[in-house]
Amino acid sequence: MSTALNPQQRVWQKLRINPRFLLGLTVLGLTLFCALGAPWLARFPLGEAELVDRLCAPGSQHWLGCDTEGQDIMTIMLYGARISLYVALLTVTLSLSLGTFLGLISGYWRGWFDVLLMRIVDIFMAFPGILLALTLTAIIGPSLYTVVFAIAASGWTSTARLVRGQVLSVREREFVQASRALGASNRRLIFKHVLPAVLSPLVVHATFSLSSVIIVEAGLSFLGFGARDAILTWGGLLGQASQVELDQAPHLAVIPGLAIFTLVMSLNLMGDALRDALDPRS
């Protein structure tokens, strides 16, 4: 039966019945729904704050309570989902495309470029990523794009290493060698053979990267170097909560904390499931 299916179908077949994947997908879907539906789901307009509501507890008016400026936390969380996902996706896209591009070139052509790139990767890996974020924040100012840029700037290295390793092993395989002997162009080789082989570990890597970006972004906010735009990310809200005593407004820390926890956990579950499904050996 299964021989009749093409590889994508086979993977999907496996994922469809994997409870971890389904759970992860549901949470991700819910987050996306909140993010896209924010203007309709929110009970208060964004940016509306009444100082007297500062740190108000959850109740009938404000279902999830209020933050330090008296804004409705549910509103911030809904709009924050947008920003959090946006930051995570943008960062991962950036670091993934840069890392893949450089890793492909360096693994495929080897030579001096490979040596140079690997040294640069070493430098970036040895460089404390947080410092990069801190200095960039001081130079550019605490905005979303600083955070994106800072995380991506240290995140591309692991992708580059991964892709390079994959390319190195793929290009030695018989079918690649054979098409090269048949006179296939480099471009054809890369796009037809090398890239598809790299794709599945890359998908898994991307899923885990998404989750780690969310955690790292929250960590930066905690240190006071996160984005301070009009709309806070979930991490930003948690960072704000870390400056308020827990017993004063437990909801301030608990709500974004739980949200991040759930989202990151489901992304990890999805990553696991994807890894199992894409593993050619299983």
């Binding site: 070493d122 460089f127 404390p128 130079i139 960590g219 240190l223 948690l238 991040i260 990151v264 990890n268």
Partner: protein, 307 residues
């Protein structure tokens, strides 16, 4: 072996230099002036200028960097602009705290993850496995700075068992290493499990069983020894993460380590201190990686050392 180590060490130099140049360049790009931090708000422009001159801060940045690199080559990391102390002394004061914390967290992580990973691999699919892997997935998802205060709230304020923070008695190491080790423990136990599962499928395990080895011996001596190979790499990589991850944990628990020194240095634009901290962070990362590769060859003699 010696040649190999020498070669590897030599290859660290350009990387170290690269890191040094990037950090020095970046920190000079940051707006703000260390002289403001030193002299306070009421200093006149003349005073600022003369101090800037005395500290060599009025020179062009490339010239400052060249001078700095020369000093470093001679083993002189300069003097802190704020603390009026040699940077080497500051680093040596703070280093033990960070290294201790990193090692303790690593130990905590190993103590949790290895039994958990091994048991859940052996009993794959059982309820123990499910519980263990739920922990593994959730441990990664908890931000350290969220877990840390919760641990303090529970163990120090509510139960009163452990001190809130402050590096001192052995008890004071428990909470920071727990909160820093949790994420690592989670990651490592997954690694251990996967690696064990694969090894358990191998032929030599079947052979060992057939030979009549006890199950415990099969698992620990044959399977785990082989499964620990990928673990060593991950631990090596993670140790670097631990060192920098210490920045957040040190902030929560007021741990007087390099991370807090780095943050302070950035705040006051204390260039020599920031550069010194980064130098320590990156060189320890590089050295631990080298060490990992060497350990690798010890665990598995089949691996040849080639640069």
């Amino acid at each position: 072996m010696v040649v190999y180590i020498a070669k590897r060490l030599a290859s660290l130099i350009p990387v170290g230099l690269g890191v040094l140049l990037i950090v020095a360049f970046m920190i000079h790009l940051v707006p703000g002036d260390p002289v403001d931090a030193i002299l306070g708000d009421y200093a006149s422009q003349d005073d600022k200028n003369s101090l800037r001159h005395a500290l060599g801060l009025d020179l062009p940045v490339p010239q400052q960097l060249a001078a700095y690199v020369q000093d470093v080559a001679r083993g002189d990391l300069g003097s802190s602009l704020i603390f009026h102390k040699p940077v080497t002394q500051l680093l040596l004061e703070r280093m033990p705290a960070t290294v201790e914390l990193a090692i303790c967290s690593l130990l905590v992580a190993l103590a949790i993850s290895i039994p958990l990973g091994v048991i859940s691999a052996v009993k794959a699919g059982s309820s123990i496995d499910i519980v263990a892997m739920t922990f593994a997935v959730s441990g990664v998802a908890i931000p350290t700075f969220w877990l840390g205060p919760l641990l303090i709230l529970l163990f120090s304020i509510e139960l009163g068992w452990l001190p809130v923070s402050e590096r001192g008695s052995w008890q004071s190491y428990i909470l920071p290493s727990l909160s820093m080790g949790t994420a690592l423990a989670a990651a490592l136990s997954r690694m251990t499990r996967n690696s064990m599962l694969e090894t358990l499928k191998e032929d030599f395990i079947r052979t060992a069983r057939a030979k009549g080895c006890s199950e415990f011996r099969v698992i620990m001596q044959h399977a785990f020894r082989n499964a620990s190979l990928p673990l060593v790499t991950v631990i090596g990589l993670q140790f670097g993460v631990l060192l920098t991850g210490a920045i957040i944990t040190e902030r929560i628990f007021d741990w007087p380590g390099l991370g807090s020194l780095l943050i302070e240095g950035i705040g006051t634009r204390d260039y020599p201190v920031v550069q010194g901290c980064v130098l320590v962070f990156s060189s320890s990362y590089l050295l631990v990686n080298l060490l990992t590769d060497l350990t690798y060859s010890l665990v598995d003699p089949r691996i040849r050392l080639s640069p």
